[in-house]
């Protein structure tokens, strides 16, 4: 019985570890796509954020400064995407692909300059704190390696991610600026006639998505592990993008989709450790198969924001 409870604790803990970087990034996806701009550059932004976060955390010896750098780094890539897509009416998919090359390219280039030619950073001295250990002292609140410890004694980034889900939901659905973002994404012409600046809203939303993706990358490089390496972010941004669509362009939906994906990973690792007679490579497909099955079977039809991916040219409407 005790082992069973611990195993469940392990699966939940692994779920949270896996999901956190995805939650940040897919929230970024929700914000930008709600404003009508497709951002498939999330992967590149995450990659750059993971590097910027680890590099800054290494040089300043402080994970919070790392997190800030990661956010700003992602935001700069977001700005580039916004300039291309909003100001110059570039095709959003193409610009996103460019960002996916630019992010890793820039990260590795700077890494080579700062770290003596290496495409990875050195190990950061201080990682993200564990809030429960920080507040109550290590092992004081819950016995270490018990169920509660496995589930709740997580890095600060995990708690921040859950809080941000609430925050993004609140801003999008309960504030004026959120309503404007959604209006611009549904029908920019109508929004413009009401005096909303489509350009400003979209710039803000795309840059926020960069910020969130950058944080997602850093959640990987300064909490899950403690350094950046050139293969650390490989496909996470695309999974986050899928989770956002899977979650019907809603923050709470994206959260559930990320948790589902992380949960499937946790289950896969757990089953693998128990020596179930399923080949490892089949087991490794579990998260993806589960996602497809649930998408087709339970989620049903998803409706994207009305004006998504459409180029909005102000001059045509004035």
């Amino acid at each position: 019985m005790e082992t069973l409870i611990k195993d469940i604790g392990f699966i939940i803990g692994t779920t949270l570890m896996y999901s956190t970087p995805l939650i940040f990034t897919s929230l970024g996806g929700v914000i930008t796509e709600r404003s009508g701009v497709v951002n498939i550059g999330l992967e590149g932004m995450m990659y750059f954020g993971a590097f910027a976060g680890a590099a800054a955390a290494y040089f300043y010896q402080d994970p919070w400064i790392g997190l800030a750098f990661a956010g700003v780094g992602g935001m700069i890539l977001g700005l580039i995407h916004a300039i291309a897509c909003v100001s110059f009416s570039a095709e959003q998919i193409v610009s996103g692909i460019a960002i996916n090359f630019l992010g890793p390219g820039a990260a590795l280039f700077i890494s080579r300059m700062l770290f003596d030619g290496a495409t990875q950073t050195l190990t950061i001295p201080n990682k993200m704190p564990l809030p429960l250990d920080f507040l109550f002292g290590e092992g004081n609140l819950f016995p270490s390696s018990g169920f509660m410890d496995l589930v709740f004694n997580r890095f600060a980034t995990v708690y921040i991610a859950f809080f941000l889900v609430f925050l993004v939901w609140f801003v999008l659905y309960r504030t004026k600026v959120g309503m404007r973002v959604r209006a611009v994404g549904e029908n920019p012409e109508a929004a413009m006639t009401l005096g909303i600046s489509v350009t400003r809203i979209r710039y803000g939303a795309v840059m926020m998505s960069g910020l969130f993706a950058g944080l997602g990358g850093a959640a990987m490089s300064i909490a899950v592990v403690s350094r950046f390496s050139n293969t650390l972010i490989s496909g996470h941004g695309f999974i986050a993008l899928a989770a956002m669509i899977f979650g019907k362009w809603k923050p709470q939906g994206a959260l559930l989709a990320c948790l589902l994906f992380g949960g499937a990973k946790g289950l896969e690792i757990f089953l693998g450790s128990k020596g179930v007679p399923i080949p490892g490579d089949i087991l490794a497909m579990l998260p993806y198969i589960l996602t497809i099955v649930i998408l087709v079977g339970l989620v049903g039809q998803t409706t994207p924001p009305g004006a998504i991916g459409k180029i909005f040219d102000k001059s045509e409407h004035s």
């Binding site: 570890m17 030619g117 190990t123 899950v224 592990v225 403690s226 650390l232 490989s234 990973k265 490579d281």
Partner: protein, 334 residues
Amino acid sequence: MKKLSVVLTVLACCAMFLAAGPVSAKKFKVAMVTDVGGVNDQSFNQSAWEGHKRAKDELGVKIAYKESKQDADYAPNMETLTDAGYDLIWGIGFLMGDAIKNTALINPDQKYAIIDFAYGDETPKNVGCAVFQEEQPSFLVGYIAGKMTKTNKVGFVGGIKFPLIEKFEYGYMAGVKLANPDCEVLSQYAESFTDAAKGKAIANNMYQQNADIVFHASGGVGDGVIEAAKEKGKWAIGVDKDQNFLAPDNVLTSAMKRVDNAVFDMIRQMTEGKFKGGQAVVYNLSNDGVGIAPTSSKHVPKAILDEVDALVAKIKGGQITVPATKKEYDAFVK
């Protein structure tokens, strides 16, 4: 007139000397193509480049490298270096197997070499293959793990399950069992070489099940394994190079693959006109192709390291044959 003949003689001598000079000490040119990791990946490619640099210092060859940004770059990079007229061109890593073979068949007069890949009977005459007996250093670190575990339980995390990685697994398990027949070995594959989070989760799970030492042979996945050891205050064992710098208090030892030595060795043979094309050269303990990390002495007691040295002598002498496959392992533990 006499003056003129003296001048002419001197000139003739100079000319002869100049002409003869380069021939007597021909400058060899060697280049390598990295895989996607790049030349400073702190792993394989970097180690190969160090071998090149040693060849430059000790043998006076000219060296160069070309980095591949993606798998599709291997063949074009090979072509570029072939056209540039190098004496020997290296492909670093098994991913380049096809690219090297195809280029070598088109350019039969150009010498090539590859790390970690053997073509068997189909090896082109102008390709030299350097392969390693990874099971040997894995056996040694397994022995250390078996001696040092306090819980009688150790772990192995593999990258993707295929014969090369299984050599690490079975060599390690054999070492553990030799040191400590009662010790249990947990073994799990991540089915990835990049998913650090998965490595961390697998290692966490092993530590939770009371294993206290985990060896990984899993590339980037290993970052997560070492991270888990650091967070839980347990031991991890590194791979390919000395990984102690990643977590100085938690990396017990590392199973090293001396790619640099293999590269240097094959370049030296080439400069001596003894290039071994058309076959695979095996690097193992006997020719310093593999070994355990020099930092092992930090955490491993001297008595155990002495036993390891005795094992090395036995492996070199042929008294112990380290198993590299499941079949050999089953026979070994019997």
